[in-house]
């Protein structure tokens, strides 16, 4: 290990810099948090901004956000030198630390916004399922109903109002959640690659982009698996919003890049060299060309020329997949890129990813699969397509 670490260094690095501090797990942390924030913003499009066309994805977006939010702290936890001490961050937080305060933003968002909103939205179904199920399922739904079984019209109207209010405060909370992740990096003055006030806003917009792309992809894939019809008005609308958000995100990142190039301060030569060598694949190819310009172009295509439904579905599948890869590359470039050059600006190193170690590629892949397993569980527990419950109420089941 000793030789490979030292041989990776080109030029001069401070001796303590040779060992990289933050691994691929820390790349996942802003990525997953961003997916949460973006998915929630999409859900609020329908609820707050009354974009009726995206309604079929409303509940799916909320459940997706929850599935990923539950996984979000895991990479951090696994990375700690002393994971058993992590609760200290809540018990004795250091108020000037962005990381400590993030814990509270996270809890607020998880408990006060997301879980409560999902509960209110599903309360009727939960009560109905508790009534008709038997055995452990009955017990489960009874527990989930928190002992409240009033589903009268007045009661549901109150749910609706409170839910509306929650979504309204949920939007700034989602902004806060991910803007704050950007602040964790952007506030480190020691690191010129991170230290910019643009960081929270760039993180926020890339979060919105990745979250919308994820929900769109999940919606299309799950519809295909379930054999339900894809609502083309819905996916067209989401794809349009994705394109708008992506253009803003891409522009913001472009401004940041241009600004750095034009100012060319003392760190510029170092960073410029890095982008042309060690980060060339992940930054120029994956983030900017194949994960940025290409998906924007693909999403813009149906706006410019007539494209058949089938072709549009293919375009969206490709564009959302590329978007998710591009945003993951962006997180990589921030987190890993920020550690590949010396704070002396006199040298560089290379990050070699381990495979089956605590912070290796394998746990990272598992952590990316886990939210989808949780989502499948959530979809079974709380079907977003209002099926069984409504059939019993004498309504037609609504397609996803």
């Amino acid at each position: 290990m000793q030789d490979s670490l030292l041989s990776a260094v080109e030029g001069f690095m401070y001796p303590n810099e040779i060992e990289l501090q933050w691994s691929i797990l820390i790349v996942l942390y802003p990525y997953i948090t961003g997916l949460v924030a973006g998915a929630f913003i999409l859900a609020s499009l329908e609820r707050v901004f009354k974009v009726e066309a995206v309604k079929p994805t409303y509940r799916l977006a909320l459940l997706t956000a929850l599935a990923f939010l539950l996984v979000a702290p895991l990479p951090l936890q696994m990375h700690l030198g002393h994971p058993e001490r992590s609760l200290q961050m809540y018990l004795t937080p250091h108020t000037s630390s962005a990381m400590a305060m993030f814990g509270f933003v996270y809890l607020w968002y998880l408990l006060a916004v997301l879980v409560l909103e999902i509960w209110l939205d599903y309360r009727k179904e939960i009560v109905l399922m508790a009534r008709q199920a038997s055995g452990w399922k009955k017990l489960l739904y009874q527990t989930m109903s928190l002992g409240v079984d009033d589903i009268s019209e007045e009661s549901l109207a109150i749910d609706q109002k409170v839910g509306q209010f929650l979504t309204v405060i949920g939007i700034p909370s989602a902004f806060l959640l991910h803007g704050y992740v950007g602040f964790i990096f952007g506030s480190i003055k020691a690191n010129p690659w991170w230290s910019t006030p643009m960081m929270p806003i760039v993180f926020l917009f890339s979060a919105i982009v990745s979250g919308i792309a994820l929900v769109l992809l999940v919606y299309m894939v799950f519809s295909y698996i379930n054999g339900t019809r894809i609502d083309m008005v819905c996916v067209d609308t989401i794809a349009r919003y994705l394109m708008y958000a992506f253009i803003i995100d891409f522009t913001l990142e472009g401004i940041d890049l241009l600004h750095r190039m034009y100012e060319a301060d003392e760190s510029f030569k170092s960073l410029d060299f890095m982008v042309h060598t060690k980060l060339f694949v992940s930054q120029i190819l994956l983030q900017i060309i194949f994960g940025g310009l290409l998906p924007i172009g693909l999403l813009a295509l149906p706006q410019l020329v007539a494209v058949t439904e089938r072709a549009r579905r293919g375009l969206y599948l490709l564009a959302t997949s590329l978007t998710l890869i591009g945003i993951l590359a962006m997180r990589w470039n921030v987190v890993i890129g920020g550690q590949l050059f010396s704070k002396s600006f006199l040298g560089y190193t290379t990050y070699k990813v381990d495979f089956a170690t605590r912070e290796g590629l394998l746990p990272a892949i598992l952590l990316l699969i886990l939210p989808f397993l949780i989502l499948i569980g959530l979809l079974k527990l709380l079907p977003p397509w209002e099926s069984t419950a409504n059939v019993h109420e004498g309504e037609e089941p609504r397609a996803v």
């Binding site: 030292l6 951090l76 200290q88 004795t92 704070k343």
Partner: protein
């Protein structure tokens, strides 16, 4: 032949003694003000002066520090290290820098005298900043500025999240591979609170580095600061660094 009884007896003694030795070592490594009676934190404000013109790059300080503080021997864990600067003629802003094993083994000859270049050594250590970016970011307050101006780490409280390592502009922190918590120069707190000097200052043959108490009017540090052109590393970081350098070339990063 050793009987079972003897074996148990001997190994118990060995275990007891090891534990005692470990406890003693802990005391040696982690001196606290409580163990230094009469020491009042409010009466001191520690700083270090480093005279680049006197440093000969012998590496005594690095070796003494590793020994005194039990620093891991791998070449990327240092509480203090020495850098060698080679500034070629006509290119004052682009130095070539190296620090083989942090200067622990001294510096093998590399540059020929008389080539028109400028060569010097820069010892580095925690700057014990008065406005420490590392202290600011610690999520649990495990690293803190002591009232006597020393930045310390509570190792029983550190999570090992490495945020402070990222926040230090000078590369002074590392994660101890043995304890999985952060480690850094403590100005040999266990020594200075007992009236001793630091291990690095103690062993420096040219007095290129000296610890000083800015609250003690009789300390020679005042005279040194007054009579020399003093600078700190990366002054634009505004961290309130208390490692004061004499003869700090503009090319030093």
């Amino acid at each position: 032949m050793t009987t079972r009884r003897e074996f148990v007896g001997k190994s118990s003694t060995f275990l007891v003694l090891s534990a005692a030795a470990a406890a003693a070592l802990d005391n040696v490594l982690e001196g606290t003000p409580e163990k230094a009676p009469g020491y009042k934190k409010a009466d001191h404000w520690w700083a270090m002066i480093i005279d680049i013109e006197k440093c000969i790059g012998c590496g005594n300080c690095v070796r003494a520090c590793k020994t005194e503080n039990g620093v891991s021997m791998e070449p990327y864990y240092f509480r203090t290290w020495v850098e060698r600067y080679h500034v070629p003629a006509g290119n004052p802003e682009h130095p070539q820098v190296d620090s083989p094993n942090g200067g622990y083994d001294g510096f093998p000859e590399k540059y020929k005298p008389g080539d028109g270049s400028k060569n010097f050594f820069v010892p580095k250590l925690c700057n014990h900043c008065a406005h420490s970016p590392c202290v600011q970011v610690c999520p649990v307050g495990a690293t803190f500025e002591s009232p006597d101006g020393v930045v310390l780490v509570d190792k029983s409280y550190c999570l090992g999240c490495r945020y402070c390592v990222q926040a230090c502009p000078y590369g002074c922190r590392y994660i101890d591979p043995k304890t999985h918590v952060v480690d850094k120069c403590s100005f040999c707190y266990h020594r200075i609170t007992k009236g001793l000097t630091t291990a690095c200052c103690e062993t420096c043959p040219t007095e290129a580095r000296q610890i000083g108490d800015l609250k003690n009017p009789a300390d020679p540090i005042h005279e040194f600061l007054r009579t020399h052109k003093i600078n700190v590393l990366k002054p634009q970081m505004a961290t309130g660094s208390k490692a004061y350098y004499n003869g700090l070339d503009g090319s030093v990063r």
